[in-house]
């Protein structure tokens, strides 16, 4: 038994193993940088830096170094440089683990004159709760690179330890689909009767239309323009019961209440086509021509929802352009779907989206992009960037950009802020946070990271917000590494050599 342990220890403490581990580590790093260059940072992080095997490799490196250090036991004076350098690495690795595990790294955005305490972290989470509950369950959703196969998984109450208040566990959810870089596709649908009872928002009229010049038309509109017109459809949804309008082709289109439509005073200018729901729930319109002439009409679309297959068209006399009613829903709710974005890699690539349903139910569930919320059965659900509320808030008084003389290139920028702390009022004095001049408060440090210029103002200042419990260990480890390697290489020189008791008289 002891024999075996000794053998294992000897293996772990061997120099050859160290060389192999270093080689493996190097190869992994090369691959990571190549991935990052070919795709983007998130991809490199996913496949290497955040991968379990990479972390295991680091732990293994730590064990290797530890065993090598122990194998020199009992330690003598001459071992000092070797021990400093190698224990330094161990301490550095420990510090990195502390940062990884307990640290905070996020960003805080404040516009001039505003106050904020919300820090965004580069992680996504699914949040769900029953209506009326004070607490919600938050479940982190790991980012997955495009092209990687996604397996549906179940999210249960209590998974993250946060429990919803009161009435027992919430029903489990299933994440059914995942798009790494998603682009929204606007749409609407008629809610089911069962659904209507639990909906947060009232269903309202929705209309999908497009403009078309029939091929047979003798209109003077050139063919290029014709295909451009036919390519795009528009949605109008009366979100709050008032006006909803869009400019399309030659005219302005709106959906509104009948009373509102009748109250509009006709005037000259771009033609207007105002849709409203007639008394019987069918689709009617009022057309105000460019000469300011008003005319009421019925589209012929009935009170029932229309089908995409049978569009109805009518000609308002705009150089041969016809209006095609593709879809009409007197009672509809938004139904935004997501598709993979055209931009799949790089800084411009959009954030992910997920499709979530109740576990075991047959309905398709709902699509959620980052920042979206929805109702699912009896649950309120949302998909957000992971957020953290600081124990204090930051007020931005002023943002200043200095530029190099006679040019638009910024030479420096800075924010004048003060801290508002509920526990220790009144607010602190105003201080400047500059590049390389951070502000620390209650163990959290704010750095000037960047800004979003706006003309006219206000400008938004972006701070990087950090708490790094591993800092001491990392600095101490670094110092030891440098000191150790200097001594290690200086052993052959008389001064150092005598100090370590290894000087042999001749270099």
């Amino acid at each position: 038994m002891i024999r075996t342990l000794e053998r294992i220890f000897d293996f772990l403490a061997s120099l050859k193993l160290a060389v192999i581990v270093l080689l493996g580590f190097t190869v992994a790093l090369v691959v990571a940088t190549l991935l990052e260059s070919a795709y983007d940072t998130q991809t490199g992080q996913y496949y290497v830096y955040r991968a379990w095997w990479f972390k295991a490799l680091l732990v293994f490196l730590g064990i290797n170094i530890f065993c090598v250090a122990m194998s020199r036991w009992p330690w003598k004076r001459k071992h000092i440089p070797f021990l400093l350098a190698h224990l330094g690495i161990l301490i550095l690795l420990f510090g990195s683990w502390q940062t990884d595990r307990f640290g905070l790294d996020g960003s805080l955005r404040v516009s001039e004159g505003q106050t904020s305490a919300v820090v965004d972290e580069a992680l996504y989470q699914l949040v769900f709760s029953s209506p009326g509950a004070t607490e919600a369950v938050a479940h982190l959703i790991d980012w997955i690179p495009p092209g990687k196969e996604f397996k549906p998984f179940v999210v249960k109450d209590g998974v993250t330890g946060t429990s919803s208040s009161g009435e027992g566990p919430l029903p489990p959810l299933e994440v059914r689909e995942y798009i790494s870089r998603a682009e929204p596709v606007i749409g609407f649908r008629v809610p089911s009767t069962a659904e209507q009872a639990t909906l947060g928002e009232t269903p309202r009229p929705a209309l999908k239309f497009k403009l078309e010049v029939p091929p047979s038309s003798k209109s003077k509109i050139p063919p290029g323009m014709r295909s451009l017109l036919a390519a795009q459809s528009f949605w109008l949804w009366q979100s709050d019961g008032g006006w909803a309008s869009v400019n399309a082709g030659p005219a302005r289109f709106a959906i509104l209440d009948e009373e509102q439509a009748r109250a509009v005073a006709p005037k000259e200018g771009a033609p207007q086509l105002l849709f409203f729901e007639g008394k019987k729930g069918d689709l009617e319109y009022r057309h105000i021509s460019s000469q300011g002439k008003s005319q009421f009409g019925k589209t012929g679309v009935t009170y029932k929802s229309s089908e995409e297959k049978n569009p109805i068209r009518f000609n308002p006399n705009w150089n041969g352009i016809e209006v095609v009613i593709e879809r009409w829903m007197p009672r509809a709710i938004p139904d935004t779907k997501y598709t993979p974005s055209k931009i799949q890699f790089g800084k411009e690539a959009p954030p992910p989206a997920i499709r979530v349903g109740l576990l075991g139910s047959s309905d398709p569930g709902v699509w959620l992009g980052v920042g979206d919320q929805a109702t699912l059965g009896t649950l309120r659900i949302g998909f957000f960037q992971k957020r953290l509320v600081l124990p204090f808030s930051v007020k931005l008084h002023e943002f200043e950009i200095k530029r190099y003389q006679g040019s638009v290139d910024p030479s420096s920028y800075a924010s004048r802020v003060s801290i508002l702390d509920q526990q220790a009022p009144p607010e602190t004095q105003e201080v400047w946070i500059r590049m390389n001049e951070p502000l620390s408060y209650k163990g959290i440090t704010l750095y000037q990271a960047s800004y979003e210029d706006a003309d006219p103002r206000p400008v938004t200042s972006i701070f990087s917000v950090n708490r790094d419990p591993g800092r001491q260990a990392k600095y101490a480890g670094s110092l030891l590494i440098v000191l150790g390697s200097v001594l290690l290489f200086a052993r052959r020189y008389p001064v150092v050599g005598k100090l370590l008791g290894v000087y042999e008289g001749k270099a």
């Binding site: 190097t26 260059s37 992080q45 510090g95 040019s407």
Partner: protein, 571 residues
């Protein structure tokens, strides 16, 4: 008083119709030639101009403009100052002269000009519809990529963009818009200077003086030109806002720096000293016997080091910061570092080996030569820094430390190559006397140098972490530049540990020092010029990939060839 006002008004008028008047002379054939050498442009070269975010001598402005537009330091014997002057004096004639370069053949094809030619006239380029179409698309494209670092741009598109920029820079110079030489009446150093084209009645005096300069040049009157350019230089210098004295001193220093070309002199001297030591070794007069040769070589080498140092010192003084903000500066700095390490190692040696110095001189010569001959890849002009890099102690320290580490590795790499050559000689010929001693000595020097490198690179990488922590609040973020510094360090650690474990012998050590240097090349050049991602984006550039890739490949092939020879000989 009234009289004077009249004159000033006249001056303004003359300036605005200036181009038109001279255009009338511009018929007939284009025979633009520089004036004879009796003409002196030094006063005009010293004239301050506000450009690129700082006040600099007109000399620097002219040099960077000529380099950007023609792709050469000087075009067909034109002094850059004179050429820039000639653009504003003879704008319509220059429109028809082929001097605007297009560096990429595929871009020439795309624009639809003669692929074989290198230079094109502005008028010829602006008649090409493809270029104009691209120019129209540009604002849209810029709106799409507003991101600060942006995605990697296609190199061909970058060059296409630069062709447009070249033509517009020429036109801005020819129309006076780029001549931002009228200091503001306020005394604030941050205010914008006005250009000649923006000058109004209140600037009548300065405009009149400029017209005198242009007129004297046009009329080929060297005496009037000398007087007028001296006058305008003095006039502007008297009106520099802020610390006028300091600015004038820097402007003068910069003209001197531009004109003496210290790195060219230095590389020639490095070359001569290396050649001398090489010859003496070849004639078997080297170590010991030919002391005079060594001494003479040392004198040459130290003169080169002195000139090299003065050049870097001047540059730091002009820029007001240490010279490590781009590839050009770092290669000059690293070359000096190689010399410093070699000198230290040489002087602490009990038995002096001149081979150390000849290797170092060769490397420094190659570094400076590369920087000197490829201004289109490594921009030699002095530019201001992005905000995050400004006035930061840790930044300076970490970059200087890391690049000094590169110097040490470079020296070790050079020595490794010499060892390989010695091995190759012994494989091909008969074993020379004291072969093992020679190889061991070389390896010993290389090992010392590598130790410096490992300590400096480790310390520098960690200091980079300290800086990142101090600036961004994070010690380590797996940024490619950080990671490649670590990879380079790991490569050398592997060699050191492998040597200690007995896997790497005498030959292996020499071979691996050479191979490991590829990781330094990647960390230094590759991350910025090839990978092109990450937070160190302010140093990104392009170009030279073919050269660097072939150099690295040839080097690896050489190592492989020596290794194969060794295998064949010993089996």
């Amino acid at each position: 008083m009234k009289e004077r006002l009249k004159v000033m008004k006249f001056g303004v008028k003359v300036f605005s119709i200036f181009a038109t008047v001279f255009c009338l002379h511009a018929f007939g054939e284009i025979d633009l030639k520089p004036k004879d050498p009796a003409w002196k442009f030094l006063d005009l070269a010293q004239m301050p101009i506000q450009s690129g975010g700082r006040v600099k001598p007109f000399d620097s402005f002219a040099r960077s403009s000529v380099l950007f537009i023609t792709g050469k330091r000087s075009f067909e014997n034109w002094d850059p100052v004179e050429m820039t002057l000639s653009w504003i004096v003879e704008p319509s004639r220059w429109e028809q002269v082929p001097f605007v370069t297009i560096l990429r053949e595929d871009v020439r094809r795309q624009i639809g000009v003669d692929e074989k030619k290198k230079y094109f006239s502005p008028i010829e380029l602006l008649q090409k519809s493809s270029l104009l179409q691209y120019a129209e698309m540009l604002p849209q494209k810029e709106a799409q990529t507003t991101n600060q670092t942006g995605p990697k741009q296609d190199q061909r598109e970058q060059e296409l963009r630069r062709v447009l920029d070249r033509v517009s820079l020429f036109r801005n110079i020819a129309s006076g818009q780029a001549w931002t030489v009228i200091p503001p009446a306020t005394k604030s150093a941050e205010d914008r200077w006005l250009s000649l084209a923006e000058g109004t009645q209140e600037h009548g005096e300065v405009l009149t003086r400029f017209i005198e300069v242009f007129k004297a040049y046009k009329d080929s009157n060297p005496l009037a030109f000398a007087d007028a350019s001296k006058a305008i230089d003095g006039w502007i210098k008297n009106r520099i806002p802020g610390d006028g004295e300091g600015a004038i001193l820097k402007v003068k220093a910069e003209v001197t720096y531009n004109r003496i070309r210290p790195y060219m002199t230095a590389w020639v001297l490095y070359f001569l000293s290396a050649l001398l030591w090489g010859l003496s070794a070849w004639l078997r007069r080297g170590e010991g016997k030919g002391k005079a040769w060594t001494q003479f070589g040392l004198i040459l080498m130290y003169s080169a080091v002195a000139i090299h140092t003065v050049g870097l010192g001047l540059r730091s003084f002009i820029a007001g910061r240490p010279p490590v903000s781009n590839m050009y500066e770092s290669i000059v700095w690293v070359s000096l570092g190689v010399m410093v390490f070699a000198a230290i190692l040489y002087h602490i040696q009990k038995q002096k080996h001149a081979v150390l110095l000849s290797v170092a001189s060769t490397l420094a010569m190659l570094g400076l030569l590369a920087a000197d001959i490829s201004p289109t890849v490594m921009d030699p002009s002095i530019n201001p820094l992005v905000p995050v890099l400004r006035s930061n102690f840790w930044l300076t320290i970490h970059v200087l430390t890391i690049t000094l580490g590169y110097s040490a590795f470079a020296l070790s790499y050079g020595l490794g190559n010499v060892t390989l050559v010695v091995y190759l000689q012994s494989f091909l010929g008969k074993k020379a006397q004291g072969f093992m001693a020679r190889v061991n000595t070389l390896n010993q020097m290389s090992y010392r140098s590598m130790q410096f490198g490992v300590v400096l690179l480790a310390a520098g990488t960690i200091l980079g972490g300290v800086w990142a922590d101090y600036s961004w609040g994070r010690f380590w973020g797996w940024d490619p530049k950080e990671v490649w510094a670590l990879i380079a360090l790991l490569c050398y650690l592997i060699v050191l540990h492998g040597r200690f474990a007995g896997w790497i012998g005498v030959f292996g050590f020499a071979a691996w020092t050479v191979v490991s240097f590829s990781s330094v090349v990647m960390a230094w050049y590759g991350v910025n010029f090839v990978l092109g991602v990450g937070l160190h984006a302010y140093g990104f550039a392009s170009g030279g990939f073919g050269w660097v890739a072939s150099a690295v490949s040839l080097q690896l092939i050489f190592v492989l060839a020596v290794w194969v020879t060794k295998k064949l000989r010993t089996s």
